[in-house]
Structures are given as C-alpha cells and as structure tokens.
C-alpha cells in the first residue's frame, strides 16, 4: 500500500467507527457526517453506473419502450398521476410472468417428483425418505384454506395431520431464523472487528514490512 492509501484507509476506519458509534453514544455529528458520506457516495456511484448503462443500452431503438414506461413512474408528482399505474402494472405482470412458470416447475413439481423418487429408492436412507414424504404431505394438507375441505384435516379425528404439518413448517422456520440470526446477528460484531481492527492491523503490518 502507498502512504496515500494508508491515509485513505484510516479515513475509512474513522468513518466506519462513526457509523458504529450510533449504537453506543447515539446521534452525534461524527455519526451524521459518516452516514451522509456513505449515503451520498452510494447514490453518486449508483448514479454514474445508471448513466453509463443508459449510454450503452439506449443505442438499441427498442429500449425507448422501457424508457417511456420508466418515465411514466415520475408522473406521480404531476396532475397526471394516474399514468404511474402503468409502470406498476407492467412490472407486476412481467414479474409474475417471468417467475410463475419456473417456480411451479422448480419448487412444486420438481420437489414432488424428487420426494417420490427418494421414497422409491429409499434415498438417502429409509427414515429420511419417509420423513420427507410425511413432511411434504402434511404441510400441503396444512395449507388447505377452504372451510369446507380443510376442516377434516384441521379439526377432529384427522386434526393430527395439520398439527404434524405445523411441526414440520415451524422446524423449517426455526432453521431459517437460526441461520439468519447466526449469519447476520453474530457476524455483525465479527465483521466490525475484521474490517476495523484486523484489516487495519494487517495493512499496517504489510506497509511496515
């Protein structure tokens, strides 16, 4: 690293400590400056990237259509705000169209086929295969929302089906929550220490040989 990069690095550390200071000493000018620089820098960087993209992509005449649709989103600030419904409708429609087919194929049909194949082959072991089948079937039953058809599996003699489905469902949620907590919550401290302390120490070690 050059001396200038070392100075920049310490500037970064100063600003990073400023943002983290909010948790300990509340809103100060140090925090406000750090936050503003981060947001302003991010917006400026995104702005340049978008201008670059527009420059390279607008050479295609067909791009005028999405450009017009995008511009319509800003009519919300005018008296013609009803025009802003069109970009929302187009986005929702395209989003659904692009997503639904692959989702049904990938998440529902392929998953069911896989479970059936696993049960046939008893893969990876008989207990796991049967547990997967039990989980898929009971969770599907749990998600029957019709009063007429769902009551038999939610209440009475067969109410146990929905209860088992709920156990599988909440086991999944528990795993997701735990993973998210570990990844985001516990890592927040380690990331802070790595970025602010460890990388600085290592960079200085490299600088001074």
């Amino acid at each position: 690293m050059t001396p200038f990069e070392i100075i920049l690095m310490f500037g970064g550390v100063f600003l990073a400590l400023g943002t983290f200071s909010y948790a300990f000493i509340g809103e100060t000018k140090w925090f406000a400056i750090s936050e503003s620089i981060f947001i302003g820098g991010g917006i400026a960087m995104a702005g340049f990237s978008i201008i670059d993209t527009l420059r390279s992509q607008l050479a295609n005449p067909l791009m005028i259509i999405p450009f017009i649709i995008g511009i319509l989103a800003y009519t919300r600030w005018t008296n013609y705000r009803w025009l802003a419904r069109y970009p929302v409708s187009v986005l929702s429609g395209i989003g659904l169209g692009v997503t639904v087919g692959s989702t049904i194929r990938g998440q529902i049909i392929a998953g069911m086929i896989q479970v059936i194949q696993d049960v046939q082959a008893m893969y990876p072991d008989p207990i796991s295969a049967l547990l997967s089948l039990l989980g898929v079937v009971t969770v599907l039953f749990y998600f029957t929302y019709s009063e007429k058809y769902s009551n038999p599996v939610h209440q009475g003699r067969f109410g146990i089906i929905a209860k088992i489905g709920r156990i599988f469902l909440f086991s999944g949620f528990g795993y997701l929550y735990a993973s998210t907590f570990v990844a985001e919550g516990v890592d927040a401290l380690s990331t802070t220490i790595i970025i602010i302390f460890l990388r600085t120490v290592r960079a200085l070690q490299g600088f001074y040989g």
Partner: protein
C-alpha cells in the same frame, strides 16, 4: 449465598459482560487458535463441481454486489473462489445485476484476486458486463441471450471480445455460479438459469436454495454460516472466513455461558425471595 452466586448477582453486570466478551473476541481475532474443521458434503460437492471442468471451460458468475458488500464480508472467500477458478484455467463471465457491481468486480479482480498473477487477460479470460437492470427479468434475458447487454462494462461491443465468440446462450457455458445479496436473489438465478436452461449451478452464499433445490438444480453450495469457511479451509487459503467461523463458535459458546450465568442469577434471586418470605412468616 455461595461465592459464584455472589459474583454473578452483585459484581457481574451486563455492561461488564459486554466489555469482557468484546475484549475476548478481539484478542481471539488477533491471536487465533486454529481448530481443525469438518468439511461438509455441500462444500465437497462444490469443489468437485469445479474440478469436473476442463481448462478453457466458461463459468458464468451472476453477481449483485452492491456498494458495501465487497468491503464488508466475503472478500477473502470470493478471492479464494476466484483464485481456485483461475488455478483451473477457467474463463469467467461476470454478469452484473446491481449498479455498483461492474466497477466492484473489476476492482476485485485486479486488487484482490490478482488476475494478472495468473496470466489472465481482460476480454480473453474474463469479462464484466455492464449493469443489467430488471432483477429476475434481467437474469432471464441473459439466460436466453448472453449477448443481451450488447457491450461490456467499458462499452466495447461483445463482437470484439474473444471470450464471447463461442457463448451465445447460457447453455454454451459449462457452469453457472450464483451469489447472494438477499433472500430472493438466489432462487431467481436457479429459476432462470438452472431450471429453464437445465444448467449446472453452484451457489456461493446460502441456505435459501438448499432445502428447495439442492441436488436437483444446485450441485454444490457454500452456506454462509459455515460453507465459505470450509471452502477456505479445504483449499488451504489463508482468509478471514475460517477466523470468522471460529469466532462464531466462540460467540455461540458465550451465549451458552450467558444463559448458564443467567440461570444461576435467577436461581439465587428466587432462593433469596423464598428465604425472605420464610423469615417474614
């Protein structure tokens, strides 16, 4: 009241515990005790999937690194993956779905992955697309037509970029790789590349794709909770993720320790209340 109860209830406050834990973790970061690790099958699958490729094969790496991500986490892990790909002489196309991604990827390749050290030449061995908007519709468009962006991140037409000459649809590449950036991004890559085009795919980030797609559409996965550290460990890369993983174990141990101390405090408080009630009676 025993000495332990006395210590927990009178001396040990939450603030003192926080300071103690912070000092402990900083000390561990600076002077780590590297414990042996077990490498899971998801990680070995991931490595095997890369090892399966021949030199010169093309990997399409979908990225949506935002402004902060490269500086925050996964920097050394991504360097480890990139250097592993380069050691296998694979060609890489970075497809960028966030405005800041193209410049991030270029900086990453030069400053961290050290592509020049591996003899990698931009345009011949690796290339970065410009920002492609539209999230999932953008991913779908690139899957159908790899020349959809028309130019690379510098505005050079794709017809002048050697790596692109044999790549027209995504199935012309040999492997796709998807990164994280949130809960929704990874299933998007799986839906639009792996499912629609029957592409082999490995995932660099997370558990979101494991339960639904693993084994069917995703052939290797580095779960962020431990997979990224396992990759560094398995490929003998001296990165930060192994350190972070061990740090996480310490964090989890401290959580258990706190629970135990809390239980002792609760027990002694209840005992004290019971004794007081007895005296009054």
């Amino acid at each position: 009241m025993t000495a332990v109860e006395n210590f927990v209830t009178t001396w040990l406050t939450p603030k003192k515990m926080a300071v103690f834990f912070t000092i402990l973790t900083i000390l561990y970061m600076l002077f780590p005790v590297m414990l042996p690790m077990k490498v899971s099958s998801w990680t070995t699958d991931y490595i095997a999937e890369i090892d399966r490729l021949e030199p010169g094969d093309v990997v399409v790496w979908g990225h949506n690194w935002g402004d902060l991500i490269p500086a925050r986490s996964g920097l050394t892990f991504n360097t480890a993956v990139m250097q592993y790909l380069m050691s296998k002489q694979l060609k890489i196309i970075f497809v960028c779905f966030s405005p800041a991604t193209p410049s991030n990827m270029y900086t990453f390749m030069h400053d961290y992955a050290k592509s020049e050290d591996y003899g990698y030449v931009y345009g011949v061995d690796w290339v970065v697309t410009p920002f492609i908007s539209g999230e999932e519709s953008g991913i779908a468009a690139v899957g159908d037509d790899m020349w959809y962006p028309k130019v690379d991140m510098f505005g050079t037409p794709l017809s002048e970029i050697p790596i692109y000459q044999d790549i027209h649809v995504i199935s012309d590449a040999q492997l796709t790789m998807c990164d994280g950036g949130g809960f929704s991004w990874q299933p998007m890559y799986v839906r639009q590349w792996a499912i629609r085009h029957k592409m082999r795919m490995v995932n660099n980030y997370g558990f979101q794709v494991i339960a639904i797609y693993y084994g069917i559409y995703v052939q290797g996965c580095l779960d962020r909770t431990r997979g990224q550290a396992e990759f560094e460990y398995a490929t003998d890369f001296q990165g930060e993720e192994v350190l972070r993983f061990q740090f996480r174990n310490i964090g989890a141990s401290l959580v258990f320790l706190s629970v135990a101390l809390g239980n002792i405090a609760l027990y002694s408080k209840k005992k004290e209340e019971r004794d007081t009630v007895g005296v009054v009676a």
